[in-house]
């Protein structure tokens, strides 16, 4: 019995000594770090899982404060964490531009399937087979790799069209951008409401054959835009978002209804 008490006492004493020693050392060897790093670290969940791409929560906190990395990369903390960190960093005088993901495709992937596909039901796999499972060599394949990878539930699959993205839930973490094998997704400022829902570089005759809403590079949007924010290159219209002021003229004039606009 005494053995038990003695061993517990000795272990306890040693532990206490070391703890005190370390506490003392940490005060003496303290560094001048940006206090915001500790604040951000406090907001982060502290799981050190590495999902954000950094080696531990401390590294991520450091990168947010020092390098201005997006605060929406933490999949464990999700919305609340991202918002709290953005608020914190915003209070310190940095402006946080809310960004969201937009998909540059509006085509029906069921309607324009090339043939029966019996393979791994992922966009990545489907994109590797015979130039993709749909007739358009650039468009959305519809297997939902992007929806599956979104940790914030911001993407909703649709039966035959590319997914819908909820701007409020999207944290612009970039996972869907990386997941799409056809690079259809782009992160843009959330305040911009128009998007060219096409990525096809094919000539207009070919585009019309395989898609009802593809861009035919007619150039009407270029002419109508009051800010000259659209250019047509490679048979595809592209909106330059730094110039776009949400006039919406492009959306109204597009003959194929390729350009989409959020309310």
């Amino acid at each position: 019995m005494t053995l038990l008490i003695v061993s517990i006492a000795i272990l306890g004493l040693l532990g206490l000594l070391m703890g005190v020693g370390l506490g003392f050392a940490s005060k003496k060897l303290a560094l001048q770090t940006d206090p915001r790093i500790d604040l951000v670290l406090g907001i982060l969940p502290g799981a050190n899982c590495g999902a954000c791409g950094f080696s531990g929560c401390f590294q991520y906190a450091k990168s947010i404060v020092e390098d201005g990395v997006s605060s929406g990369l933490c999949t464990v903390g999700s919305r609340e964490t991202a918002k709290k960190i953005a608020d914190l960093m915003g209070i310190q005088g940095q402006s946080v531009v809310k960004r969201t993901a937009r998909i540059h495709c509006g085509g029906d992937f069921i309607k324009r399937q090339k043939a029966e596909y019996e393979g791994v039901p992922t966009c990545m796999a489907a994109s590797l087979v015979a130039g993709g499972t749909i007739q358009c060599g650039y468009g959305c394949l519809g297997f939902g790799d992007c929806v599956n990878v979104c940790a914030f539930g911001a993407m909703t699959s649709r039966e035959n069209l590319p997914p819908v993205i909820d701007d409020d839930l999207c944290t612009a973490c970039g996972k869907c951008v990386r997941a799409c094998p056809r690079n259809l997704i782009e992160l843009i400022p959330a305040e911009k409401l128009t998007v060219v829902a096409c990525s096809s570089r094919d000539k207009s005759s070919l585009v019309r054959k395989v898609c009802d809403v593809g861009c035919i590079a007619c150039g009407l949007c270029v002419k109508k835009c009051p800010e000259q924010a659209i250019v047509v290159t490679d048979n595809l219209a592209r909106i330059r978002y730094d110039s776009c002021k949400n006039a919406g003229e492009c959306f109204m004039v597009c003959p194929t209804k390729c350009i989409q606009a959020k309310k």
Binding site: L3, I10, L11, L14, L22, S26, L29
Partner: protein
């Protein structure tokens, strides 16, 4: 005296902790990509080894043995090692942030590194005196650093060669480590 020198050299070449006993492989594989990192890691390990082996020996001799608490060896040594590694981390962060960043996650991994515990336990179980403990620890640490430096110089060269895709990185490193281990077997004739 001669016995100590033989012990020291033996630990570096013949009974090398990495090549003969296969201990400490995690930091060995993880930090041996660049020569500068390896030297830094080797020195950190030697530092932790010395402090922890000596502290462990002191605690064993003055606390555990008189009170017949030898069975607490493992847990007490781990406690000591963990504390020392925390201390080393703090010291590094303050005095050499570059090395601290370079070692990254491998610094706290020194704690769970079997080499540290192994040296502490081996010293205690062979009943070494303080001097012999220090010599053994230094030998083990230098042997580990030698292994790291050798490996990193080879790996720096490997980066520029045409390694098959499947073997790139860790696999070829392990194969190389195995080959070095075989080569080190040749030293056993030294004893």
């Amino acid at each position: 005296m001669k016995e100590l020198v033989v012990l020291f050299l033996g630990l570096i070449f013949v009974n090398n902790f990495v090549f003969a006993r296969f201990l400490g492989l995690c930091p060995y594989m993880g930090v041996s990509r660049k020569m500068t990192d390896s030297i830094g890691m080797g020195l950190a390990v030697i530092f932790v080894l010395l402090l922890s082996a000596v502290s462990a020996w002191c605690i064993q001799t003055y606390v555990l043995l008189p009170l017949h608490l030898e069975f607490l060896q493992t847990i007490v040594f781990i406690l000591v090692i963990a504390t020392l590694v925390q201390l080393v981390e703090m010291v590094l962060m303050k005095f050499s942030p570059a090395l601290y960043r370079a070692l990254g996650i491998y610094l706290p991994l020194i704690t769970t590194n079997c080499i540290i515990l192994a040296v502490a336990l081996i010293n205690v179980r062979e009943g070494n005196g303080l001097l012999k403990t220090v010599v053994t620890t230094l030998g083990a640490g230098l042997g580990f650093m030698l292994a790291l430096v050798l490996m990193s110089s080879i790996r720096e060269r490997l980066d520029t060669t045409d390694v098959p895709e499947a073997l790139k990185g860790e696999p070829i490193a392990f194969i190389v480590a195995g080959l070095i281990a075989i080569a080190f077997m040749g030293f056993s004739g030294m004893m």
